[in-house]
Symmetry: C5
Amino acid sequence: DLETLRQMRGKWPVLWVNVDGVGHPGTVQALGDIFALHRLGLEDVTDVPQRAKVAAYGDHLLIVARMARLIPELDLEQIGIFVGRDYVLTFQERPGDPLDPVRARIRAGHPRIRGSGPDYLAYAVIDAIVDHYFPVLESYADRLDALEEEIVGRPSRRSMNRLHHAKRELMSLRRAIWPLRDALAALVREPGELVTQPTLVYLRDCQEHAVQIVDLVETYRDLGSSLTDLYLSSVSHRMNEIMKVLTIFASIFIPLGFVTGIYGMNLVHPPVAWYWRWGFAFGVMGVVALGLLAFFWRQGWLGREK
Amino acid sequence: DLETLRQMRGKWPVLWVNVDGVGHPGTVQALGDIFALHRLGLEDVTDVPQRAKVAAYGDHLLIVARMARLIPELDLEQIGIFVGRDYVLTFQERPGDPLDPVRARIRAGHPRIRGSGPDYLAYAVIDAIVDHYFPVLESYADRLDALEEEIVGRPSRRSMNRLHHAKRELMSLRRAIWPLRDALAALVREPGELVTQPTLVYLRDCQEHAVQIVDLVETYRDLGSSLTDLYLSSVSHRMNEIMKVLTIFASIFIPLGFVTGIYGMNLVHPPVAWYWRWGFAFGVMGVVALGLLAFFWRQGWLGREK
Amino acid sequence: DLETLRQMRGKWPVLWVNVDGVGHPGTVQALGDIFALHRLGLEDVTDVPQRAKVAAYGDHLLIVARMARLIPELDLEQIGIFVGRDYVLTFQERPGDPLDPVRARIRAGHPRIRGSGPDYLAYAVIDAIVDHYFPVLESYADRLDALEEEIVGRPSRRSMNRLHHAKRELMSLRRAIWPLRDALAALVREPGELVTQPTLVYLRDCQEHAVQIVDLVETYRDLGSSLTDLYLSSVSHRMNEIMKVLTIFASIFIPLGFVTGIYGMNLVHPPVAWYWRWGFAFGVMGVVALGLLAFFWRQGWLGREK
Amino acid sequence: DLETLRQMRGKWPVLWVNVDGVGHPGTVQALGDIFALHRLGLEDVTDVPQRAKVAAYGDHLLIVARMARLIPELDLEQIGIFVGRDYVLTFQERPGDPLDPVRARIRAGHPRIRGSGPDYLAYAVIDAIVDHYFPVLESYADRLDALEEEIVGRPSRRSMNRLHHAKRELMSLRRAIWPLRDALAALVREPGELVTQPTLVYLRDCQEHAVQIVDLVETYRDLGSSLTDLYLSSVSHRMNEIMKVLTIFASIFIPLGFVTGIYGMNLVHPPVAWYWRWGFAFGVMGVVALGLLAFFWRQGWLGREK
Amino acid sequence: DLETLRQMRGKWPVLWVNVDGVGHPGTVQALGDIFALHRLGLEDVTDVPQRAKVAAYGDHLLIVARMARLIPELDLEQIGIFVGRDYVLTFQERPGDPLDPVRARIRAGHPRIRGSGPDYLAYAVIDAIVDHYFPVLESYADRLDALEEEIVGRPSRRSMNRLHHAKRELMSLRRAIWPLRDALAALVREPGELVTQPTLVYLRDCQEHAVQIVDLVETYRDLGSSLTDLYLSSVSHRMNEIMKVLTIFASIFIPLGFVTGIYGMNLVHPPVAWYWRWGFAFGVMGVVALGLLAFFWRQGWLGREK
């Protein structure tokens, strides 16, 4: 509770307070009072969604980012991180997993986190958030691979809907990671006095990971476009196949039907022995049918296209 | 009226004059004389439409922006804001709502607006304008979601017309917010002496919101493109479905009709008992029909595709 | 004539010489000698077409721009403007209207043009050229609106040809205004000593108009792309409508024809009273037809799609 | 030969050596020794293809560019130009025409080339190369105009193949001129001490021409995309026309055939006088045919679409 | 082994250690201890895949790049290169060929590699990696040429799948070379003290090759898009051809069948001599058939389109 927190301040070199659920304005306000946080920063943390950013408010930094999770739909939860001289405050919308590895490392007595200042702890949190994008992106890579196989093999309307869904989620991912990349680049360029030199090297590494994620998202978007082309060409191709079947059947049997129609006309027929006339009739039909088959064969319509 | 205004100047720390309707050049000119506004700035305010911009004219700033409203079509009204040492002048085309929250806060005695200079009041106005884009964009998000559901479920020509309409309005929104973002960024970078340091922090926050709006507009445009692809693939897919029905019917019944035609030929038939020949005829037809059905089944054309 | 010109030089604070038709090299050369113009500048003026640009040659500036007119096809005439300490020379390909408002204002004794130096006169000319793009662009907006109505209502092949034509002319407009925008931006950034401070404010205004024109051209290009998508989807949609009609007719009447064919077979029929058999035959046909109509109804093919 | 060359060095203010065919490494190496050229520069000249660039190696510059020719396919030959204090060396792959105008002007005793240093001669060579892009681009403009006329009038598969071919060559042109533009811009920005001030003005002019060529190439690429859209819409449109013919024929005659089939059924007919029944039969057929024609007329399928 | 390595350090001016397989963390860690490598650098080398980059860690540089190979699928193996004052460490995933030419040159006693420092050796390695992209890209050029020929001649569904495959691999190549280009540009801009001036000239050359590769990849991507358009237009065109055949057959024979149907109606026929009636019937059919053939001829559907 808040009173204990107030007393603990100053007794530890680094204090990490994690707030789950930002819907309780009173608590947030009280924390803002205890740590003397800027009003605009507090608003940014409680008003979701925000764009990822790094803002410097005199003696403390605010880093806003979005954490990517698949549960199983894409979920982009906002996290706000205040970094001061002796504290790190994190505000999450819901209690959740991306920060669990950091907690586990602290509990396990990870020497570097324990021995470093709040800037390194904040780096560890951001690094956990950024690295959590990779498994999410991998699942999109798998999904696109599966879609590609489906579209190459047996394209259905559902494939296209799923492709659109994936493209849509990639747009959201892009909107989440792109500003984070820029914010981290700005932080690395002008770290201010709260970020120490050793941590800066780690932050630069983290920013490179964000760049890599942006690259991957862009590649997957390109891949999605190429799959759309592939789908449209597949559908057109199948239309061709269907039309060929129709054309072959109709073009062979409609003329044959015409021949039978001629013999069905109620006209006085010339007196010819029946066997010869049957033979002639079937001969004509056979010639017509074989001629058309030969025509379609030369067009290359009869073999199944590879 | 103008005489009262002239007398009031200088008696209050900040004077806010809001002019609705810029079609009355006399009033605008008189105001320009009272507050010594630059001729080009006055022209910018009366000549609509202008591109959003921030222009510094010695002792006063001019900020031109566009307010987005849905009534229920998208309406992008221009607003011109002159900021001087002791006054804020706003020129609107029509009396309207985006500024109402600001007025309400002043009437309610909002301490920060009351206690700050004209730069903070101008910020409050711009912030109200920028934040009014969010509900407008949300309505587009809803519209695109509804269109997506429609296109996935039952795409019609009307869906495409409405999609085009939404894309067109998003282009207008983009053209309104993009220069505002740049103008605010320029103002934040070189605030001049009229903008005080505390207000600058707020302006930066406001500029970040403009960036976020640009991001959203771009995402919705991408989404619109993806929906166009989805629509086109849906239409192609339905064409395939239609053609399959035609091909199945025609390919089965045209050969069967040919068989009946053979039996309808006016030739002397071989003397065979009728029951056997009926059986043979229907047998041939049955074999043809079942063979073709098997062929279509193997092609996967008979089951309704998911 | 040239002799009078030579004598008039120096007697007036600002001398404006407008040359219509740059095909007379002798005159151009003579003018170059009188005003000591740089050889490369003269070449730029006589060699059309050039890219819009601003070039500084010591004591005089050369501004090359393109004037947009609709007569009624898009016409992009080149204009070269030399600005010196006491003269402005304009070289047009053909005598024409965009500069007429400037002349009218001079004749009407416009105080600011009369009282200012050659830089303001040059600004007035450039401003007239830039502002003349707006009515041209408005006509494209009207054309695209008309095309949109046509494509939504009754798309024809001619619509697409006209859309392509509009897109093509927008490409030309873009190629004309884009470098002018950059050239004006460069001039505003580094005005040199020929441009006075008061004129610079006007030039900046003019450059903003150029930016606004570029924005509009880009928006119209985007609109053109969206209209292309709309057209293609309309054509596909109409194809679906046509195919549905064919499929409904063929799928209903080909099976019915098959039934009549069965009854037309020259086989000894079982001895049943004729009225029953007529009833049975029409009953079968009715069931087939109603069944297929029900099937097409469930597919939603019978109602006219909105 | 090389010995004469060695002796001539130093005797003339500017020495221009043009090497045709860079496949003779011995000659190139010997020239490199005579003029003390940098090893990397020589490699750049002999290893084709290279990207256009300007490289400064202490006391000499290397300019690599590509010359565009149509013979009649697009040919992009590489040229390497070494510029030193008293020499210009040009390495071409094949003897060829773009440099002929320069040679002609030297032989004709062109005063500026004769009187200036090697930098002006190098400029003259580069200017000839850059200006030679214009006729090449003009031929593409003509080709695209012809394709446009073809696609608007009578689109065939060959049009599309030729369009693809043109787009492909425009990509090559773009890849040749884009880096040259950047290299010239870099040279103009940091000319080094080998380029004199008067030549710099000419080089800037030349660089503007390169920018203009890039603009043109981009416009033609856009035009190619628009033509692709136009082609695809034309093909779809023709498909609609074909399908309309099929649908009209099939929808009218298949129901009529069904009516004749009914009258062909081998059932005992009711005893009605023959003339009445013929009239009734043709009446039914006429009503069906006219009804369908009216339906297609209302659909607007019968008139040839503009 | 590691002990020998430790002893050899310092005895040679440049020591090149190549580690194949980065899956053995112990060896990597031991090497890191011997050469005092930064922890983050070692992580970058062992955690694959990384984005290409250049990182400076005090007294040593880390260069991460990806080597392109076709075996026969595209393989992008990561390589990490540590450059210190007297050593070069290279970490490969698998033993492989791109570095073999460097080894061969060292064994052959190449004077420049032998006589220069570790920076030149590192350059030689990077140069071998970059230049190995060229044959890979050439194979894509060949593949796209083959696809183009196929699509122009006889487009099949397999062509489209292979085109998609090539586009996908080009995306991977782009993602590999783009950051390498940027990293090399950053290294050339700020080489630090480990890179000597003579090597810098070589590195700049190498960076230009990377730029050229990026250009090529982009051109091939554009080419891929153009081929997609070509394929789609080809498929649409073939659909037109198929539909024309169907339409011609159906439109000619269905009316003819209707004529035979009329004569097959079981109505009492007017008593006319049989020969005249046969002639009339075939006359009507002939007129119908020739009229339709003339119609299709005028439509241009009968000749095979070029």
